[in-house]
């Protein structure tokens, strides 16, 4: 079983779970498919030998984001198929958009794809935790800090939007 076959299987799995996420009627099912999808993506990362990244990926996406989403679903008691039927037109238009976008992007890439025979092999370590940490905290120190501002804003925002304010009533 060559690596390529593994890739194909994994890719098919990724796409399939992604697609199922999108089309599942039950939000819970969608969420579960999405988690599977995330895992498959983590699998891809592993194939690249990016262990740290795949770990972080699973922690952040599956562990944090999906939990948050699921939590919200539970909170709102949405775990049933309560989505009314969409009208045909919007379905068709979504399908058209999907087809068009997919076709255009794929066609574009196929058309513009350079022929790559040899791949760079630096032979150096570029994706171990150590290297990543160095890059992140040296070169990318400012963005790293700035990301904290981003998270701070999100935090303030989340509080601002969801906190029941008592002063107005």
């Amino acid at each position: 079983m060559s690596i390529l076959t593994i890739f194909y299987i994994l890719a098919a799995f990724t796409l399939a779970t992604g697609f199922l996420t999108v089309v599942s009627k039950n939000p819970i099912h969608s969420a579960i498919y999405l988690v599977l999808c995330f895992f498959s993506v983590a699998g891809h990362y592993l194939m690249f030998n990016a262990q740290f990244l795949s770990l972080v990926h699973i922690i952040v996406y599956a562990g944090a984001i999906m939990v948050l989403i699921l939590f919200t679903i539970m909170l709102m008691n949405l775990n049933k198929e309560n989505e009314p039927n969409k009208n045909l037109l919007s379905k068709i238009s979504a399908a058209i958009a999907f087809g068009l976008l997919g076709f255009v992007m794929l066609a574009t890439f196929i058309k513009t794809m350079p022929i790559i025979d040899t791949y760079k092999q630096s032979g150096q370590d570029y994706q171990s935790i150590k290297v990543l940490g160095k890059v992140l905290l040296n070169e990318y120190m400012v963005p790293f800090e700035f990301a904290s501002v981003l998270l701070l804003v999100a935090m303030i925002g989340a509080v601002l939007l969801s906190k029941k304010s008592t002063s107005i009533q």
Binding site: I96, L101, V104, T108, K111, T112
Partner: protein
Amino acid sequence: MEKNLALVLVLAPFFGFLANIFFGKKAGKGFVGLLGTLSILISFFATTYFFMQIQSTGKPIEVKLFPWIALESFQIDMSFLLDQLSVLWLLFVTGIGTLIHMYSISYMHDDENMHKFFAYLNLFVFFMITLVMGSNLLVMFIGWEGVGLCSYLLIGFWYKNQDYNDAAKKAFIMNRVGDLGLLIGIFILAYVFGSLDYHLIARDIFSQELSATDSALISIAALCLFIGATGKSAQIPLYTWLPDAMAGPTPVSALIHAATMVTAGIFMVTRLNFVFDLAPNVQTIIAVIGAGTAIVAAAIGLVQNDIKKVLAYSTVSQLGLMFLALGLGAYEVAVFHVITHAFFKACLFLGSGSVIHALHGEQDMRNMGGLKKVMPITFWTMMISTLAISGIFPFAGFWSKDEILMTAFHGNTILWVVGSIASIMTAFYMFRLMYLTFFNDFRGTEHQKKHLHESPALITIPLVILAILAAVGGLISLPGNSWLNHYLAPLFHKAHEAHHLDGTAYMLMGIATVGALVGIGMAYAKYLKKQEVPEQDSEITGIAKVLYNKFYVDEAYEMLIVNPLYKLSHFFRKYIETAVSELLFGLGKVTNSIGNQGKLVQNGSVGVYLFAFVLGLSSILIYLFLV
């Protein structure tokens, strides 16, 4: 000295006008009349001085005042020219003007706006003097339009009556039609000769060969100028305003619409005789139109019942005869008839005014009659003038009309026949007028009858003077020994053979006299012998009806020109205006409908928005990479 005197000549009436309009009301009617008359009299005296001067030296006097309009190729000055023609014209303009002013003192005495009347009359004389004295066409044009304005003001003098105002308006507008022609003619002359000065144009014409284009242009110019003349001098096709103009007070009719203003066309043609001489085709047109006007107007005059309307048509007819003469190149003959016509026609109008005055405004001859005994002076003066206009020897009209017919006879027999018939008709309707007015019994109301009286001296004196002039005016140009021809000779550049007193001449005189007598006889038979009175308006039938309604020319104009114009106006206003606005509003509507479509797309659904997003993205990628 001469310059100052010329200024006095021009400005005296103008000051009369100013004084009357500003102070007339306060100063009182006596002052107004006196001032008005005196200011003209001063002009008259000044004219007499110049007349003497020119008689003795024969040299024209030019008075340059100041530059007026500057054009790139030449400049138009405000300047005056006193030569044989203008002085002659001034003489009878101011002379008759003085008489008529005098007459008006009494005639208008009861009108509350007498000061305005005199002011307008003075203004008229001022403009008439400008017209005559201008040394170039444009100064003449000031006078030309100015007299038109005064005519407008005076016709509509009784402005409370909207019919009178319409008549005034009509006069002004029809004159303006002619004025446009005149203006175009002026443009052409200016273009060809680079000047509008009479002298310079004449000098150019005689000093150099004219190219073919120039000759053609001059022909057009002559035609345009003649169109101008038809407006002012009431010729076909623009004559219809003159009968309507009788709405004005009678002295106005006498001064403006008989003696002076309407002869401006003849003056202009005579003034520019050297131009017309270059355009023989146009001269033919002038002659034909003159003859046509003469007979058409005479025919209409046959059946009119309003005393002033009869005289108005008579005027048109006589003017036609003058143009006939002009068209045949006999300028001095036309001038001669202008002068005699001024005398007798002014007299006739003033006489009719006297009658109307006596009858408290009655103008319908069917309600007159038998006034001979009550108003002897009026009767006799009018009788003399009637004889003169009918061409009875030895009154003034005989000589001048005879000259015209003789010229016509030599020029073109048909024109002569037409002119002669017009003359016969003239004799007929003039005597019809006399018989209906003065003979038989009075047909008016009892009230009127009680108050019948002869007019006061201020009215009769001018009548008498004019009657005398009408009787002896012919003396200035007796056949064979014409002072007038001699006097005017320097003006004309084309040698014009004088008529000899030969057999033909006597024969023609005889025919004319017999013709006149026939006309008189018919009138006598119909109106004195049978004592017929014209039927009421509704009973008129047949040809008479056509004539009575003036060949329906007014109606035709109304239908062919006025109504289409108003319809066009309506059409423009209703359709073109809206169409143009709608076109532009249409653009607004298009944007609005685009906006509405846009509003439909902007339907609040995120799906649609994202769809548009994806479409935009895709099309950009397609455009960049796949096309």
